[in-house]
């Protein structure tokens, strides 16, 4: 009775199409787009506040803030003078391509050098959804434990950079930087690892140098 029709269509195809469009858009505009991901509370917003303030004279930067609720984070980063737009996912565990398309409509992207997307705090789902970004960046705070790259591998596998944040807490927590780094490199041998304490503005120079290099590479791709 029933006939079988072969389909073979990727369940994520709608998002992949949007991500490809966004990637083209960022290429055309020469915007370096970075997707910042971490658990809730790892320090994404504090790192952004520092970065936006410290590099304000060097780059024009904009931020898309993803959270389930509230515009607290958009207010925090906007206080540095950068353009910011808040996306509330209303319970959704990740940002997807259509949310980024909508958010970009609200930003003035002319002359923007770097667009930061602060994803929903979640060490799992955001890694599955491409947003057309040039790089994924994972922030892991030392209070979370050095076994997290091993337990939540995909995000570390796909990221160009792992920032180990809150290193000022190292004397108080059982976190071995070498262990965490080894786990991350086992998944992704090219991952760049920068230990920082964003709240204390410590170790940020290496991160800023990486940003300058990534921005230069994006411009060179013109």
């Amino acid at each position: 009775m029933g006939k079988t029709v072969t389909i073979v269509r990727n369940v994520m195809e709608a998002n992949e199409r949007r991500a490809a469009k966004l990637k083209d858009y960022f290429a055309e505009k020469h915007v370096l787009c970075l997707n910042l991901m971490s658990s809730p509370g790892a320090g994404k917003t504090t790192l952004l506040e520092r970065t936006l303030a410290d590099l304000a004279g060097e780059f024009k930067m904009a931020v898309i803030e993803g959270d389930l609720q509230t515009d607290n984070d958009a207010r925090r980063v906007a206080a540095t003078g950068a353009q910011a737009v808040q996306v509330n996912t209303e319970g959704g565990c990740h940002l997807d391509g259509s949310m980024i398309q909508d958010a970009i409509e609200e930003l003035d992207m002319d002359g923007v050098d770097i667009l930061f997307i602060e994803n929903v705090g979640n060490l799992v789902c955001p890694a599955e959804f491409n947003l057309g970004e040039d790089h994924k960046i994972t922030i892991l705070s030392v209070a979370e434990g050095d076994d997290k790259p091993e337990k939540y591998p995909l995000m570390f596998h796909l990221s160009s950079v792992m920032l180990l944040n809150k290193t000022d807490l190292l004397p108080y927590v059982d976190f071995n930087v070498d262990t965490a780094s080894a786990h991350a490199r086992k998944l992704n041998k090219d991952i760049e690892i920068f230990p920082v304490a964003a709240r204390k503005a410590d170790g940020l120079a290496a991160w800023y140098d990486w940003l300058r290099k990534a921005r230069a590479a994006k411009l060179a791709a013109k």
Binding site: M1, G2, K3, T4, V5, T6, I7, V8, R9, N10, V11, M12, E13, A14, N15, G92, C93, H94, D96, N122, V124, C125, A127, E128, E150, P153, L154, R185, K186, L187, K189
Partner: protein, 131 residues
């Protein structure tokens, strides 16, 4: 964790294919889920059950085929199937880093089993009269 939104994407693909192939009643849908897709088979099955309780796709069966992980060694180039998705020593040279993942990330709708109208009753481009 986001399996419900994956099911929603699947349902919209299924509706598109249903219209394209003039399917009447859909019996079952087969999905291939790779070991590294990030979607948990049990959660997909549960999400499917929730979202097909009512509506135009009520009662359609979902078969989920788990697809194994296949990689090519980053050092010696030997293809192999790791036993563990996270620790993957190459059986030939022992390398654990830098393998190229050939399959295991996929999540796709493979096929749909349905009653199909071979000759659609009303062609979409049929001329309309009296308008």
């Amino acid at each position: 964790m986001h399996e419900l939104s994956l099911i929603e994407s699947m349902l919209s693909i299924i509706r598109e294919e249903r219209d394209k192939h003039h399917m009447k009643r859909i019996e079952r849908v087969r999905v291939v889920n790779g070991a590294l897709s990030g979607a948990v088979t049990d959660a997909l099955a549960f999400g499917w059950e929730c979202l097909t309780q009512e509506g135009d796709l009520k009662g359609v069966k979902l078969d989920i085929v788990d697809a194994p992980l296949q990689v090519v060694c980053g050092s010696c180039g030997k293809p192999f199937t790791p036993e563990d998705a996270h620790y993957m020593p190459c059986p030939a040279c022992g390398e654990i880093l830098g393998h190229d993942i050939k399959s295991g990330r996929e999540l796709y709708i493979d096929e749909i089993e349905a009653d199909i109208d071979d000759e659609p009753t009303v062609a979409e481009d049929a001329p309309t009269i009296g308008e």
